[in-house]
Symmetry: C2
Subunit: 328 residues, 2 copies
Amino acid sequence: MIHRNRSSTIADVARLAGVSIATVSRVIKDAISELKFVPRAAARTLASRRTNTIGLIFSEIGGAFFPLLLKGIEAETRSAGYELLIHSTQAAHAQKRRPLGEHNTDGLLVFTSSLEIEELCRLSQINFPLVLMHQTPPDEMNTPVITIENKDGAEMLVSHLIEKHARRRIVYMQGPEGHEDSQWRERGYREALESHGISFDPGLVVSGEFDEEQAFASMRQLLLDGIEFDAVFSGDDDAAIGVYRALKMANRSIPDDVAVVGFDDVQFSRYISPALTTIRAPIEEVGREAVRQLIHLLNGEQAQSLTLMRTELVIRESCGCSPKEVNP
Amino acid sequence: MIHRNRSSTIADVARLAGVSIATVSRVIKDAISELKFVPRAAARTLASRRTNTIGLIFSEIGGAFFPLLLKGIEAETRSAGYELLIHSTQAAHAQKRRPLGEHNTDGLLVFTSSLEIEELCRLSQINFPLVLMHQTPPDEMNTPVITIENKDGAEMLVSHLIEKHARRRIVYMQGPEGHEDSQWRERGYREALESHGISFDPGLVVSGEFDEEQAFASMRQLLLDGIEFDAVFSGDDDAAIGVYRALKMANRSIPDDVAVVGFDDVQFSRYISPALTTIRAPIEEVGREAVRQLIHLLNGEQAQSLTLMRTELVIRESCGCSPKEVNP
DNA sequence: GTATACTATGTAAACGCTTTCTGATAACGC
DNA sequence: GCGTTATCAGAAAGCGTTTACATAGTATAC
């Protein structure tokens, strides 16, 4: 704020109104618009010990997933009267930068594993308000978590492939190592197989990293290796794009030769060809709910320790269902 | 030679301990990390009169456009050592909320018309560092602007439709009223027509609002009205989706009956069917550059008053070119 | 060996607001 | 009428840093 030239302070307002500074601080009603007075956030923060700001820590802003989450978070944060400071821990995890924390926010929203576990513990220990999204905290930490029904969703999806489309050799394209969403989805996948009497084949689990390119590469390899399969459960929709590309390149028809399903239902999923059958995750709502829980914490109220959002099967064409059954 | 027993400097300690000064210095650092000391941002801000924070004002976080822009902005902001405070002026424009400004940021990035013109002027008058994206400032304001070659892009696109695919009745689906990108694109559209001896028909300009639904509705109407056309230049890629839907519903083949082209080249553009021919706008780079210019301003240096980013024609299938010519 | 320039260190004054405290005045009960 | 309590301004004490200033100590030059 170097460039402010003689902008009015609370003292100016007090003088104009003929009252004390304290009065102005209390009764910030009149005289303010007169001088276009805007309280200096830093001074306020320093005195009141509240930043009035919520921090969001995220890993990758790129994907199709992020805008949905952010939209929910932004809207809810705003309507609660808070500011939003965002921080992405892209690539250089080792960056020296001081992360968001007690010094500049009232509370933190943390997505997946975008924050080192030790920093998480530190914040938790000093009782700093924290809400996790799509990540279970270590046992000793009692931090609210918002996540989605990954297992149920995956199970629905895979069961659909088995029951409606008679698929038996279903590839699971998993996400990044240790990614919780991916682990739960795999569990759902396995349970669906099991409950339909299909034995689990580790050779059908490949790495997709929730990333188009990686998914493409893994799919190519699978095809080159001559592994047989009649369906692919792509860990998320982004990876499904890579799967599509690899299959088309190999002249395998989707869904006739290989049925493909995704997870998340991001914007493009309905537009790709064939339209992707997937699981709709209430991503925006996850964001909103996370903020709500954090606000509870900020107000000293109790927060719900686990919020599990329902997921929903969205049937389109890539599983083998016909376009007619599809609603746009 | 220590005359008195006082005055132990870091060098004395070092000498006495038989280690280097650097070692002693490191000990101090250790003490800091030992106490997990993190300077309070507010106090720092108050004393130094710098927030070390850049503000971003945006209107709609939803679209496919936003993540790209944000990614560039976030990365560059971070690498310059600043924090990022984001604020969206969605829907309720009249919200009482105090916007980002002198009180909590060092400078502001403003996208399109997401900030009222009078607030813009106010900030400009108090010499507050400001950078505009995709929006020309009022004359008296000397604020740096980053924008893209909208006109050139549009002209390339339309010329391609005319020259390569012999289209003559080309619909322009414009963006929101007063949206600068849209205005320039229309100008490019008109110039392309003119330079090919095609007269401009106002009846072929319809409203798409850069929005899928609105584009869908306008397209339906056009079809119902029986207006003849053999191509559609959709103001942006989001709207192109709506155009696709309306045309498919009316059983018009893309690109045989109607060629469709978009603008922006967002993530899904290459995946929809047929793959969308469009203009690649360096959105992420716009974000980066905007931050760079703002940093210049913050450092008291001169900033470039206008940065015009080149756009590039991306030919896919929706214009009528064959898939073979396409690179993935 | 002294004068001078320079550096490191300590001290104290902002920074602009919130909040607690204090005294004065008003309202109230008996 | 007096004493007690509620009400309300104004005064003043922070809030946790930076920074300007003063001071002491050290190196450099003659």
